[in-house]
């Protein structure tokens, strides 16, 4: 009897795992239309996280593009079709999607609105196949050079964010403390801050790196307090971790002003740090909601998709990305090599996110803003 029961239990567990993996393995829905590439249809590729942890970001960016295509369905006399692929911010999935877009959908342009890892993985393929890739969300400094001739972005590099931060810090403080997580993103950010603070004559009085699984920061923070910094930089790479640092710092009554990263906009950070997060400062792009054109866009977005955009900054950048593409295609036709040349020399475009031009590396000119957290919401710092 007991044996039978145990057997059943094991069987059930195995079955549930099989079922679960089947569910996951189901092909993702795409907005792809099975139209063959007739002369009239112009396929533009899109890769982004439409499911998974960053789905809200990817879906908002795709919707922003669709909103524009709804009102402007024809580029240079050809009807535009957006072929959207989901990569879940996984570089290997992004590569599969890019190969499919290039070989089967014959796209000349891919809006690669995904994480930096995906961008870096797709860049060599796009350059080899002479296809333009354009990102409104990949911010890694590596992309500046790794993007190649065909790589562009209007998302500001973290390089710019660190410049904005250090300019702000140097006007108010002299001694800085850094607590950073041992990941690519956080370490790149930390290194830039250290390099730039030397130039500005700032003193780094505390600089500690911790491993990703760390959860108790009290002793590190005690040590940080003893070094008597004037400002504290929290470079965690996850919302919960960043939140734990802010929370434990507050509980230890260390009242040093705190500066963070984009991570602090996540729900996990706000849930963990609670009211301790008040006054947190970050540098990132943001939708300037005082602009009429931005308000207009956000209203249309809400009407069409039934809910407000949750990643406004990136939705606005994604909207600009498709407008820039339209301008390019109307000027030089749908040919990646021509589009690329045009983008490098295009006149300044004054869009929703700001004034855009591209430098010789394909990086845009939009600057991040300093933002401050007040009662769970980031506001642009005046």
């Amino acid at each position: 009897m007991k044996k039978k029961f145990l057997g059943m239990l094991v069987l059930m567990i195995v079955m549930s795992f099989v079922l679960f993996s089947c569910l996951q393995a189901q092909p993702q829905n795409t907005d792809e239309q099975a139209t063959s590439n007739t002369q009239e249809i112009l396929n533009i590729g899109f890769i982004g996280p439409l499911t998974g942890n960053l789905a809200s970001l990817g879906v908002d960016m795709r919707n922003a593009v669709l909103l524009f295509l709804d009102e402007n369905p024809v580029f240079a006399g050809r009807k535009v079709e957006l072929v959207a692929e989901d990569d879940m911010c996984d570089p290997s999935k992004a590569v599969t999607a890019a190969n499919k877009l290039i070989s089967s959908d014959k796209v000349q342009v891919i809006l690669l609105h995904s994480c930096s890892g995906s961008y870096l993985a797709v860049a060599p393929i796009a350059n080899a196949n002479k296809v333009v890739i354009f990102s409104s969300v990949s911010t890694s400094p590596e992309i500046t050079l790794a993007g190649g001739d065909f790589g562009f972005r209007n998302a500001p590099s973290d390089e710019l964010a660190s410049t904005v931060l250090i300019d702000y810090i140097s006007t108010k403080y002299k001694k800085i403390a850094i607590l950073s997580e041992n990941t690519d993103f956080a370490q790149a950010y930390r290194q830039k801050i250290i390099d730039k603070s030397k130039v500005k004559g700032l003193e780094v009085v505390f600089d500690e790196v911790f491993n990703p699984d760390t959860t108790d920061f009290k002793t590190s923070l005690t040590k940080m307090k003893e070094s008597e910094p004037e400002v504290f930089l929290n470079f965690a790479n996850g919302g919960v971790t960043g939140g734990l640092i802010t929370k434990q710092k507050y509980e230890l009554a260390i009242n040093v002003p705190e500066i963070g990263t984009d991570i602090m906009t996540s729900k996990e950070y706000l849930d963990t740090a609670k009211e301790a997060s008040n006054g947190e400062i970050i540098a990132m792009t943001s939708a300037d909601e005082s602009k009429v054109s931005v308000q207009d866009f956000l209203n249309k977005f809400k009407v069409k998709f039934g809910q407000e955009s949750t990643a406004k900054a990136y939705a606005v950048l994604a909207y600009d990305s498709i407008v820039i593409m339209k301008n390019a295609i109307e000027n030089v036709g749908y040919d990646a090599s021509e589009i690329k040349e045009w983008l490098y020399t295009m006149p300044e475009y004054d869009g929703l996110a700001g004034k855009t031009k591209f430098d010789s590396n394909g990086d845009g000119t939009i600057l991040p803003n300093l933002m401050v957290l007040k009662d769970g919401k980031f506001e642009i710092m005046k």
């Binding site: 007991k2 145990l6 567990i13 041992n182 500690e208 790196v209 911790f210 491993n211 699984d213 760390t214 959860t215 108790d216 920061f217 009290k218 002793t219 590190s220 005690t222 040590k223 919302g239 919960v240 939140g243 734990l244 929370k247 434990q248 507050y250 509980e251 230890l252 009554a253 996990e268 849930d271 963990t272 609670k274 009211e275 301790a276």
Partner: protein, 284 residues
């Protein structure tokens, strides 16, 4: 410096709460109950459910979920370990079985509660700490210290003054002899698994006050507990407490002097050193 010692003692106290149960089980069944770590954090999740979905106060939530999990602990013994032991399975197979259970529990937690963290607190607002003689203690740390001391005293009283506590000790010291003098092995085992799991859920709930709860924490904590138990001498309850305290204190001094990136390295270097030079722990 004394501040670092205080942080270490509090962390050590938490390790101790969970290590005691692990050592108790080891002393009576002679195997590593690895699933114990996941079970403890599963209990912390249930504390979370009582605290926020039912809306009870934190302490009541913690005690309720610890009692429930005490029985879950007994269930684990009856369903998995006892049948294996009756078949005279080797302790290696039992460790493998309990490792499997750890993974299953961790995945069940992920499925129910998600992989992200849940944070849990006594009050809705965060509170800043208190300063005494240049020593800083946060509100959570104060609570942890108080609960650890109370539970520790109750546990000592139970083991030394009450009949079933003494039976547990007897089984731990000499299983066969204990049975010849008429101690009922099965009922002693029920007590052991109940008490151990009860303590671990108290410990995990207190930990989650500080760092929140995630499914993976069960695995992290069991590694630390094994280190603590090896330092103290495997299977010795007093040793487990001493080992846990030592681990907490050494870890925090390590963070202070070498940086937190070395925290785990220090713990496992300690484990290796003890295994090589003092395999029976500090109190040989």
């Amino acid at each position: 410096m004394i501040q670092v010692l205080l942080n270490g003692i509090i962390v050590g106290g938490l390790y101790a709460l969970i290590s005691v149960g692990f050592a108790l089980i080891f002393s009576s069944v002679r195997f590593y109950h690895l699933a114990y770590g996941s079970l403890a954090f599963f209990g912390a999740y249930i504390t979370y459910v009582f605290r926020y979905s039912v809306g009870l106060n934190f302490f009541l939530s913690m005690i309720l979920s610890s009692i429930i999990f005490g029985f879950v602990g007994i269930l684990f013994w009856k369903m998995f370990y006892s049948p294996l032991q009756k078949k005279k399975t080797s302790s290696v197979s039992m460790i493998v079985a309990s490792f499997g259970l750890l993974i299953v529990l961790q995945n069940v937690m992920s499925l129910i509660f998600g992989n992200g963290g849940k944070s849990i607190s006594i009050h809705d607002n965060l509170s800043q700490g208190y300063e005494f003689f240049n020593l800083f203690i946060t509100y959570n740390q104060l609570v942890i210290l108080a609960v650890t001391i109370i539970v520790g005293i109750l546990f000592e009283f139970m083991m030394n003054k009450m009949k079933f506590g003494m039976s547990i000790k007897a089984v731990g010291q000499n299983n066969d002899l204990a049975m010849t003098v008429g101690i009922n092995y099965e009922s002693v085992m029920n007590y052991v698994f109940f008490i151990a799991t009860f303590l671990s859920v108290i410990g995990a709930s207190l930990i989650s006050l500080e760092i929140g709860i995630r499914p993976i924490y069960g695995f992290h904590i069991i590694l630390k507990i094994i280190v603590a138990c090896v330092i103290g001498g495997m299977g010795k309850v007093k040793g487990a407490i001493a080992g846990a305290m030592m681990l907490g204190i050494i870890e925090n001094f390590g963070i202070y002097f070498f940086g937190s990136i070395w925290q785990d390295t220090i713990a496992f270097a300690l484990l290796t050193l003890f295994l090589v030079f003092r395999p029976k722990g500090v109190f040989e």
